[in-house]
Amino acid sequence: MTASQHIYDRRTVLKAAGTAALGASMAGCLGGSSGAAGERTVLDPPENYERRKDIDLPFPDYGEMLPEATVPAPLHDREVTTTEFVGDRHAMLTFVYTSCTTVCGTLVESLRRVQADSIAEGYADEFAFMPTTFDPETDTEAIIDEYCDRMGVDREVENWYFLRPETPERAREIVDETFGVAYEGGGGHYEHAAVILLVNKDGVVERAYNGGPPKTGAGVDDARTLVEGW
């Protein structure tokens, strides 16, 4: 990787975060995206789908395939491949750093809400949750362990895999280049796109929530619709 790949101008980050800007595309960065045509989805397209297609979002959107990356899951002493649950479970992913005091907690809580609902409603074994840090230098195994406890994550049901790329370079490859979730910063503070992916058992994205924290509870409604409609 060249040094220039580490440098992201502010516009790129803001574009990914807000999806408001039109123009330059990062779609080429997507790992496994194969387009929307013919993929099976349960949820209807998002309200602003036509406009989202025009923008050509850097992360996989509705109807596109879940990118593949293999990342250590330190609380499980093994590596997890983001696509390993395809055929078996629906999945939710998001990208955070644990020392974040703004949107990250809300992103992780959105996954946690669905986990709680999956336990209460009996679909815990139909879901896998994969929050991923892009700050592995700060987010050690011990920090991640403590963070999951603070967030109220249920470890008993074995559907929550917190992923930690080994190095900042791997984090850049996986989060930014493979998943198209832009971030910049360091030393405990980042600007980053706020993205949650809801992915069905075929590995097709059903919903990409972005542009800020999702409305509280929105993920649960969509997850239930997905489980019931599958």
Partner: protein
């Protein structure tokens, strides 16, 4: 044009304070700014044995903060809320509401313990079904709201704020 006036009024609430409430009156009451009252589970209340609390309470100004026990910013806000609470009189419904999922990992007892550790002396309740959270169209915590006596949202603020601002917004709403 009227719609635009309303949006301008809503957008400048923080700056205008009481003036914004007047702006709402100018364009007339709107259903979309009025929140229907719901009953929430009380986790702790200083002077009440009731299991539920009606939120927002019609006829009184309401201040409420949505929070979660995992949220460090919410924790750091507790002294500010305590100071704001101390500066209001009894004619204001003042409460904190958690909307985190409660159950096997985080229980209402955990919330009560967090509450007392952080000096909470006013009413704290749980929005288990997200009724209030979704009526307020909220995302994220902490998220502070002031509603006037007719249950209209006259101030909303996501993230950190302080005692002076909260007290000023409560006063501006007539509380």
């Amino acid at each position: 044009m009227r719609r635009r006036d309303l949006l301008v009024g809503a957008g400048s609430l923080a700056a205008l304070g009481g003036g914004a409430a007047v702006a709402f009156d100018v364009v007339g009451s709107t259903d979309e700014s009025t929140i229907g009252a719901v009953d929430l589970d009380v986790i702790s209340a200083p002077e009440s044995e009731a299991d539920t609390v009606t939120v927002p309470e019609p006829g009184r100004v309401t201040f409420l903060e949505l929070f979660a026990t995992w949220c460090n910013v919410c924790e750091s806000m507790m002294p500010e809320l305590a100071a704001a609470h101390d500066s209001t009189d009894g004619d204001v419904q003042f409460l904190s509401v958690t909307n985190e999922p409660l159950g096997n990992t985080v229980t209402r007892e955990d919330v009560a313990a967090w509450w007392h550790e952080n000096g909470g002396t006013w009413t704290v309740a749980a929005d288990r079904d997200l009724e209030v959270t979704q009526a307020l169209d909220a995302s994220g915590v902490p998220y502070s709201f002031v509603l006037d006596a007719r249950n209209r949202v006259v101030w909303r603020h996501r993230g950190r704020t302080d005692a002076d601002e909260i007290a000023a917004e409560i006063r501006a709403a007539g509380g």
